[in-house]
């Protein structure tokens, strides 16, 4: 590795914007310990080119013509082997840069020595070539990878999607007070009574939620648009885009979701196919993301209870994080999610570990189960092996301060 040099290389940068040039200048000065400095093209003894620049080939050709003896360093995401150039693969690190500079230094030294010995022997000087590098047959215009072009926005913009404001609204976060105000209270469950906790469940099939979940599954299986008609407003399910359309606001939906369905209303529940070819005028702002809609329904149905069929004495876990930015966020939902992503735990264990109310855990697991990302651990081993305590980060106090700041506390 090079040591700081008294006469640093003078590098001219090409194919880089001013910010990149500034950073490279700092990088050479700091981490590379002054092995080179950035200078204007005229003063340089090395050219460095960003080979991922769209015009990298032209720059390279121009530099070879202008200063044929000057070493050229190419930076690229792809492996490049071009005659008479030195290559550094991105992301560039100090070792790579210093190794290449060492090579250039050695070649320059050899050149000088050759020139001097030629002078002494009085023989006509021979042009000294750069050390031979592996020669690779290149096309006329070598395909220097242009990552930026390859990945530029090339998809057509989905204009109707832009108008579906309901799908792209930021999350509504419920604090403790908001949770009660938003959901109302359950008069028949005392969540402070441990014995009642174990039976604080609800059956989704007795609520609109169960019918929507069932209709959603059917629409997905049949891959066609279906409409769920009930004593309430018709709900149309679009499985291809994972959307629903219903002419109702959240307040109306919440009221209907919380009502247990009686026998008479269940018999009016009908699922029919909709001919997608027939154009129907639908207000675009009434489209909602399917998962976000089911999530809300589950929260409004649960009201802090857990869904029947889920054994709350057995561990549950999350297959993935919910897309929180587009969902109604119940109290402590992010913490509960983070814990259940790490390892399976029983709902009551989660409440105890995080010091949160059990109904917040129940409502969260209800919503996660409804959208299909919560699973109950089947293995007995999960219930008998104590889950290791997560390692506490060193800067726990600082992280808490950041959280407070983000929440506006």
């Amino acid at each position: 590795m090079s040591t700081p040099t008294k006469t640093p290389f003078r590098i001219a940068l090409h194919g880089m914007d001013s910010r990149t040039c500034k950073t490279m200048e700092m990088y050479l000065k700091g981490p590379c310990r002054g092995a080179a400095v950035v200078v204007d093209t005229m003063e340089a003894n090395i050219d460095m080119i960003d080979a991922d620049h769209p015009k990298a080939r032209d720059i390279l050709d121009a530099r070879k013509v202008a200063t044929p003896d000057r070493p050229i360093i190419l930076l690229s995401l792809q492996n490049l082997q071009l005659d008479n150039t030195y290559f550094i693969k991105k992301p560039v690190n100090v070792e790579q840069i210093l190794a290449v500079l060492d090579k250039i230094k050695a070649v320059a030294k050899a050149r000088k020595a050759n020139a001097e010995s030629a002078k002494i022997s009085q023989t006509p000087p021979k042009p000294v070539d750069l050390p031979e590098q592996p020669k690779v047959a290149l096309p006329e215009k070598v395909a220097i990878d242009v990552y930026v072009n390859k990945s530029k926005a090339t998809k057509p913009v989905d204009s109707p999607e832009q108008h579906k404001a309901g799908k792209h609204q930021s999350a509504m976060q419920l604090n403790e007070g908001g949770f009660t105000a938003f959901l109302g209270t359950l008069s028949n469950v005392d969540f402070d009574d441990e014995t009642q906790l174990l039976t604080a469940c609800y059956d989704p099939r007795q609520y609109f939620l169960g019918y929507v979940m069932s209709a959603y599954k059917t629409a997905n299986l049949q891959s066609r648009v279906l409409q769920l008609c009930s004593i309430w407003k018709p709900l149309t399910i679009f499985p291809e885009n994972q959307e629903i359309w219903v002419d109702a606001d959240d307040k109306q939906t919440r009221a209907f979701a919380g009502m247990p369905l009686v026998k008479g209303s269940v018999s009016n529940m009908v699922l029919t196919a909709v001919d997608a070819a027939i154009p129907i005028q639908r207000a675009e702002d009434k489209f909602q993301d399917m998962s976000a809609f089911i999530w809300k329904l589950a929260i409004w149905t649960s009201k802090g209870r857990f869904p029947i069929g889920l054994d709350i004495q057995r561990p549950v876990f999350l297959e993935r994080w919910p897309n929180f930015t587009r969902l109604v966020i119940t109290p402590d939902a992010l913490r509960i999610a983070a814990l259940l992503i790490q390892a399976p735990r029983t709902p009551l264990e989660v409440a105890s570990l995080l010091h949160v109310k059990p109904q917040y855990v129940f409502v969260f697991i209800s919503a996660c189960q409804a959208i299909g990302i919560l699973k109950q651990s089947e293995r007995q081993v999960d219930t008998v092996i104590a889950v290791a305590q997560t390692k506490k980060p060193k800067n726990e106090g600082l992280l808490s301060k950041i959280l407070n700041k983000l929440r506006g506390a």
């Binding site: 880089m16 914007d17 910010r19 990149t20 500034k22 950073t23 490279m24 990088y27 991922d52 620049h53 995401l77 991105k90 992301p91 690190n93 840069i97 930026v148 390859k150 990945s151 926005a153 090339t154 998809k155 913009v157 989905d158 999607e161 832009q162 579906k164 792209h168 930021s170 999350a171 976060q173 993935r320 994080w321 897309n323 929180f324 930015t325 587009r326 966020i329 992010l334 913490r335 509960i336 999610a337 983070a338 992503i341 570990l353 995080l354 010091h355 997560t390 980060p393 726990e396 600082l398 992280l399 808490s400 301060k401 950041i402 959280l403 407070n404 700041k405 983000l406 929440r407 506390a409």
Partner: protein, 178 residues
């Protein structure tokens, strides 16, 4: 006092600067920021190396928010940027031709840092292109053996960016009490 930082990375146009702006307490320092009084006599603008913002915390501590420059040009500073970093926020632009390729690149490049800390992924521009879906991203992530938070994000929305950073912090420690 220790210097703590959160790193925002992602391809050009994914919204790193906007996201930093959304939660920073000071206007973020950007490319070609206006020159300070000391330098403006010599140069109309001064060039800085990366996007930068600050969150002022209770007790006088600060969190520095650094945005890595676009990966296709500016990746040689990354190892330095991540030193002392609390975690990584990866923003991906859903309108790009192959956002999975972008995701792979950044997860590979920051693999060690992610392994030592944590990562949260924000997918931007989903209102312009709704495919791939968030579910598709999770499926791709299975190949990396990672289960990070992946949220649809509008980088202009403070709430979205805030939730993403909160998820990052809870990934580090679900027991954190705010």
């Amino acid at each position: 006092m220790s210097q703590y930082k959160i790193i925002f990375t992602g391809p050009v146009g994914a919204g790193k600067t906007t996201a930093i702006n959304a939660i920073s307490d000071v206007p973020p320092v950007k490319t070609d920021a206006a020159a300070s009084d000391m330098t403006k006599n010599r140069k109309a603008s001064t060039t800085v190396a990366m996007d930068y913002g600050v969150m002022n915390l209770a007790g006088g501590e600060k969190i520095h928010l650094y945005g890595t420059p676009g990966q296709e040009r500016f990746d040689f500073m990354w190892d330095i940027l991540t030193m002392g970093g609390i975690g990584l926020v990866l923003l991906l632009d859903n309108t790009r031709a192959d956002p999975f390729q972008d995701m792979k690149f950044f997860l590979d490049t920051f693999g060690k840092f992610i392994n030592d800390t944590s990562v949260a992924i924000g997918v931007t521009q989903m209102d312009l292109s709704n495919k791939p879906s968030i579910e598709d991203y999770h499926q791709q992530l299975q190949g990396f053996g990672l289960k990070p938070p992946v949220f649809a994000v509008d980088a202009r929305e403070k709430n979205d960016v805030s939730l993403l950073v909160q998820a990052l912090l809870y990934s580090l420690d679900p027991g954190l009490a705010g």
